[in-house]
Symmetry: C2
Subunit: 99 residues, 2 copies
């Protein structure tokens, strides 16, 4: 599925629920789903990992819909590769932090 | 940008960095970026919100690449609307929790 179509589908499916819930509760739900994804990546089955990735995508789209952000547009920031060094692959110098 | 193209672009741009960093550190980075998104949604500018949504998408794609998940495929779980009630819009009964 394309990103713009997915975000529109989330608006059609959950837009009214999103408006009733409000932004802070959507952030709370997104945080919960990221936690579930972290657990699935660590010890879940492939089906559980797929499930949690799709749920995080759904809550991210719900949050974006609530504040009027178009995900397919904002990811264009990466169209030229790494936004910092501007190359593909990224050639940013890394120190002792997590690359 | 389409979701599959974005995920492939993230693999080309950050795939080697991702492999060197490893999955746990990618989960840690994703969590950090979700926190930055939460703050931008609460009190950031529109540009900061756009920036943080794109960063969360990038780290989510990096994590998906590392464990072989195709985001454009997994979101098909929502193609028929809400996976629980199977309708568009969602008609799941809601209790006193966050809708």
């Amino acid at each position: 599925m394309e990103l713009a179509a997915f975000q529109q589908l989330m608006a059609s499916t959950y837009g009214e629920n999103d408006r009733q819930r409000g932004v802070p509760a959507t952030v709370a739900w997104l945080a919960e789903e990221v936690g579930e994804l972290a657990q699935a990546v660590r010890k879940g089955t492939r089906a559980e990992q797929e499930h949690e990735f799709s749920d995080v995508m759904a809550w991210l789209a719900s949050l974006a819909n609530q504040i009027g952000i178009d995900l397919a547009t904002v990811v264009e920031r990466y169209a030229g590769g790494c936004p910092r060094c501007g190359t593909i692959p990224c050639h940013c110098p890394h120190g002792t932090d997590w690359t």
